[in-house]
């Protein structure tokens, strides 16, 4: 290595802490991006694999109908349409040990003739055993191995909260090697599955392989009962993938945020490492090192730091990704559907990209300071005040850029551009713009405190505060970083609080009945109907006022397959929904006569529907066109749902079954009395009914909510952690530079404690400034998240609710983080020997 290189390199050897912080800064930034990306990619693949296991290699599927597909259709397709390549399936989810398996009931004979995923199982001996022995199943070899199961074992499973005993007779792969695609898949003969899932006589799907013959489509369509639809495999896959698109986009936004905070940290560390070496660089310039030599030295060094930090970050990232994956999978399982594949996927590209990102950002971050350091004349570079002078001169420009960024951000929010990308860009510009403005605010704060200090405060405070202003090039950066991190934390926190508040309020409104009864859904799409006459049986329980019913089905509409809920609310004076642009009293009062639909906000948002628009629904008796009568706020699904009155449903579908019942108590009736009587009457039915009070449902829903946002909370903490390291390294750098000043102060008579206090006063003030500055920004971020980002990604409007305590806490956290970051530098300052400090020059 050249001597010139050594001169620079050894700067880090002499300041190992700076080196560690620089690498850690890059590493954390890269780790955040890599882990989120890996988790997202793994989920995506898990998703694709789960889909593939489901759909096999068929070209088309038949699905739909309130109850699914009648079994007879399968025979008719074979006999009347002459279709050979057809396979029926029933599916559901069952609990096995601590995992959830995807139970697929398939027809061994049909499957044998098709090149499907299950052909090996169907052709083997184990396929025959499925047919001939009751309660026999096959399990994916991967899952069996994971759960420590082998053929011949008895499986204790839970289906609809009821225990069952099954016998494992082989692997879903047959005699072939384990196939990761089949992870979580359990196969049974179709009759076995129908019995287990309570679906005798019904199918969920018929898979088909259709040739190019267009007349075939017509022939099939002619056979289909209303509600059952022929869709292509590709169409089905993309429909389901759309479902998670918003979720994935949100994850991606998180990783972008991580990148922003991470690059800030990298910029911080690189800028400091260059600024700290200004004297060294100046000396080298005097000796004749060219600007270009120094520039390339620093940039290479940045690249090396970036590479090293990137590699370390990659390691962290992979570790963190496993934890994140777990959380992401759980979120998806909670809000979308069960992902049976949980395998972690290592995407080498993400790693390469992460490391590159670290390098590129490190180089870009170092570029500014490196250019400045290498271009200023050797004499100017030597003067500390020169740096601060140019930093101060830069402040108005930075502030102008900041204002510009804020204006563009406001514009992006105001002009209601489609999609999430402009909204996310808006949030970033907001953060960036505010960050650029923060030195101005900081100087303002210093000025105010300085003015106050003249009145009553001690000289120590004045000294502390003034030197922040004097070292604006460092302190400004550190404060901007901390401000942004705290603001993001406030913003995300407020968003989650607002969301939780809106959901709680919404739950209170929709959960009007006291007790709800439903069959637990073993399949994602179908809620099994409740037995006939149940409503009447429950209505006669003493203390029960009314029993209302609900029917949940999936129907085909002009906007694609949609969830439809038919309700007959017993009380019409109290709207069961909160309607958009209307208090809903009138709408609700005339609900029973309504020949129209209410749609949820996400549904309206997704399909661009407004009140008065028309929706074509394929009903039992043919298609009907219904107007949208109202749009209501609803948070249960980001796919949205359609609500009609039970009367209209009965008229259109002639389907008398219920999927849920709501029991309303008489005023003064005792909930636990009614509930025990209800339990007694239901126990005769020997059905796995789920009976829950509205309180329980509320609690479960909120719990699910918390789980969904667990990942967000973790990332929020990470952002603060990263900022903490940023401010710590900034303070270390400052302290290092000021050791001479400290030595002079010590020599002049400051006690060690006063010296330490000075440092802590300074850092505490910086933390306070950052915390206070973060308040308005945090609220702006919250507003953007609530009003723009969430609305656009999920279609959910929520009320912004701001509570004071979290804000105070955030400021406290900021001060605490700054004080903690200042503790070590303060200790160093206390131990500075005046002699040593003065000597080093």
């Amino acid at each position: 290595m050249s001597i010139l290189g050594r001169a620079n390199r050894r700067h880090f050897v002499r300041h190992p802490l700076q080196l560690i912080l620089a690498i850690l800064g890059v590493a954390l930034g890269v780790a955040m991006v890599v882990s989120i990306d890996l988790a997202a990619k793994s989920t995506h693949r898990a998703f694709a694999l789960s889909m593939e296991a489901l759909t096999g290699r068929y070209t088309h599927h038949l699905t739909g109908g309130p109850m699914g597909i009648p079994e007879s259709l399968f025979t008719r397709l074979r006999v009347e349409a002459g279709l050979r390549e057809t396979a029926p399936a029933v599916e559901g989810y069952i609990g096995l040990k601590e995992t959830t398996c995807h139970l697929i009931g398939f027809d061994v004979f049909s499957e044998r003739n098709l090149r499907s995923r299950f052909v090996n199982a169907a052709r083997g001996e184990e396929g025959m055993r499925l047919l001939t022995e009751p309660n026999t199943v096959l399990l994916s070899a991967v899952s069996a191995q994971r759960l420590g199961l082998k053929p011949g074992d008895e499986l204790k499973v839970m289906i609809d909260n009821r225990p069952h005993q099954l016998i494992l007779v082989g692997y879903a792969e047959g005699s072939m090697p384990p196939d990761p695609v089949l992870e979580g898949v359990m196969l049974a003969d179709i009759t076995t599955a129908q019995e287990l899932l309570g679906r005798v006589g019904w199918l969920d799907r018929i898979d088909l392989v259709l040739g190019e013959d267009p007349s075939l489509d017509m022939k099939i369509n002619a056979l289909l009962p209303e509600g059952v639809e022929l869709i292509s495999a590709a169409g089905r896959q993309s429909a389901t993938q759309n479902m998670t698109a918003a979720f994935e986009l949100n994850l991606r936004a998180m990783s972008l945020l991580a990148l922003l905070v991470g690059s800030f940290l990298i910029y911080n560390t690189m800028a400091f490492s260059v600024l700290q070496r200004r004297e060294l660089l100046a000396s080298l310039r005097v000796l004749g090192a060219t600007s270009r030599q120094l520039l390339s030295e620093i940039l290479w060094e940045a690249a090396a730091l970036g590479l090293f930090g990137g590699l370390v970050g990659m390691g962290f990232g992979v570790l963190a990704a496993r934890v994140l994956l777990h959380m992401v999978t759980r979120t998806i399982n909670d809000i979308y559907f069960v992902l049976t594949v949980t395998e972690f996927m290592m995407d080498p590209w993400v790693l390469v990209y992460g490391v590159f990102l670290g390098m590129i950002i490190a180089v870009l971050a170092a570029l500014g300071p490196a250019i400045e350091a290498s271009l200023t004349s050797p004499i100017m570079t030597r003067a500390r005040s020169g740096v601060e002078g140019s930093a101060r001169r830069a402040i108005p420009w930075l502030a102008m850029m900041g204002v510009l960024a804020l204006l563009v951000a406001t514009g992006l929010f105001a002009v209601n551009l489609d999609g999430l990308v402009p909204a996310i860009a808006g949030v970033f510009l907001l953060l960036l713009g505010y960050g650029l403005l923060s030195p101005v605010f900081l100087l303002g704060g210093v000025w105010v405190l300085g003015a106050l200090g003249r009145v009553s405060w001690g000289w120590l405070i004045r000294l502390a505060v003034r030197s922040i202003g004097a070292t604006i090039s460092r302190s400004g950066l550190a404060i901007a970083a901390l401000t942004i991190a705290i603001a993001v934390s406030i913003g995300v926190g407020t968003m989650i609080d607002s969301f939780r508040g809106s959901i709680a309020e919404w739950l209170d409104q929709i959960l009007q009945a006291d007790i709800y009864i439903a069959m637990p859904a073993s399949t994602p799409r179908l809620s099994p109907p409740l037995p006939d006459g149940l409503a009447e049986r429950l209505g006669s329980i003493p203390g029960v006022d009314r029993v209302s019913s609900g029917r949940r089905v999936f129907v085909s509409t002009s906007k694609g397959e949609s969830e439809l809920l038919a309700l007959d609310p017993p009380y019409l004076d109290q709207p069961g929904f909160r309607f958009k642009d209307s208090d809903g009293k009138d709408l609700w009062a005339h609900f029973p006569e309504l020949r129209g639909v209410f749609i949820s906000e996400p549904y309206a948002q997704r399909h661009r529907l407004a009140v008065g628009d028309r929706l074509v629904i394929k009903a039992g008796k043919g298609s009907v066109t219904l107007p949208v009568a109202g749009i209501f706020f609803d948070y249960r699904s980001d796919q949205g749902l359609i609500v009609i009155h039970r009367r209209l449903y009965n008229e259109l579908w002639q389907d008398p079954t219920h999927t849920s019942l709501g029991v309303y108590l008489k005023p003064g009736a005792d909930l636990s009395d009614v509930r025990s009587e209800l339990d007694r009457r239901l126990s005769d039915l020997h059905l796995p009914l789920s009976v829950r009070s509205n309180r329980e449902i509320r609690d479960i829903s909120l719990e699910t909510f918390e789980r969904t946002f667990a990942i967000t909370q973790v990332l929020r903490l990470l952002a603060v952690g990263v900022a903490f390291i940023g401010i710590f390294s900034a303070l270390m750098a400052l302290q290092y530079e000021r050791r001479r000043e400290m030595a002079v102060l010590r020599a002049t008579g400051l006690t060690p404690w006063q010296t330490g206090g000075l440092v802590l006063l300074q850092t505490g003030f910086m933390g306070l400034m950052a915390g206070l500055l973060a308040l308005p920004l945090g609220l702006m971020v919250a507003l953007a998240l609530v009003r723009v980002i969430n609305l656009r990604s999920f279609g959910w409007t929520m009320d912004l609710s701001i509570s004071v305590w979290p804000l105070i806490l955030a400021v406290g956290l900021s001060v605490l983080a700054a004080l903690l970051a200042g503790a070590y530098p303060a200790r160093l300052a206390m131990r500075t020997s005046p002699a040593q400090g003065l000597r080093e020059e």
């Binding site: 700067h11 060294l280 080298l284 005097v286 000796l287 004749g288 050797p378 000597r839």
Partner: protein, 230 residues
């Protein structure tokens, strides 16, 4: 060998100043000076009179606001920054009041740095460096870092570093200002010996009349202009 009577430096009506708090303050107001190759010049003047400023201009660290500085008939200002840097590292050696050794390099590495910058591999210059260090009695400290050396020792290293690449011009700005009289004397003797032995041209800034008297010629900066001392 260069013609000892050739003109090395020619300062023609050089003016310079600084802007401070928005106002211009002139420091040098039309400085004229000719220096011959091999000459030893002492530059004196009150504190704040602009001696260091002038040295910076001569060394090409800065460019005058007006006037020209010719080094062997080349105008430094016309060179452009990169070329000036290359010129500086070949032709000029600097010595400062504060020793300005690179704290992250060992004594030997500090000495070899100018050679390396000029394209001589350290392995080749190494012996020369060690010889010079030996000459000043510091060869056993070659692998030490500068902050372990005393002020006098550091300054001796700085002198070697300023001379190792055989510069035409050596600029010394109060090289003894930071040292006690005896040590200062030793350092000056060393500088004198090395400069004279190689025929370098030297400009030396000093506050001490005694030191100045060693030079061939003494010039004084007064009110931004040079006056010859008797």
């Amino acid at each position: 060998m260069t013609n000892p009577f050739a003109e090395l430096l020619n300062l023609n009506n050089v003016s310079h100043g600084f802007r401070e708090a928005g106002a211009w303050r002139g420091v040098l107001r039309g400085v004229n000076l000719r220096i011959h190759s091999g000459e030893q010049l002492a530059l004196v003047g009150q504190s704040g009179s602009g001696k260091s400023t002038l040295m910076h201009l001569i060394g090409g660290l800065d460019v005058p606001l007006s006037g020209e500085i010719y080094f062997e008939n080349t105008d430094l200002a016309a060179m452009g920054e990169p070329a000036r840097t290359l010129w500086r590292r070949q032709k000029v050696g600097f010595i400062y009041q504060f020793f300005n050794l690179i704290p992250t390099l060992t004594v030997l590495e500090n000495v070899l740095l100018p050679l390396e910058l000029n394209g001589t591999p350290a392995s080749i210059g190494r012996q020369a460096g060690l010889n010079l260090l030996d000459e000043v009695g510091l060869v056993d400290r070659a692998e030490t870092y500068p902050d372990r050396l005393s002020g006098g020792e550091q300054q001796r290293v700085a002198i070697i570093r300023a001379l190792i690449h055989q510069p035409r011009l050596v600029l010394a700005d109060e090289p003894t200002g930071n040292l006690d009289a005896a040590t200062g004397e030793q350092v000056l003797d060393l500088l004198d010996r090395l400069v004279r032995a190689k025929g370098h041209t030297l400009i030396l800034v000093t506050h001490s009349a005694e030191v100045a008297r060693r030079a061939d010629r003494i010039v004084r900066l007064v009110d931004g202009q040079l006056a010859l001392e008797a």
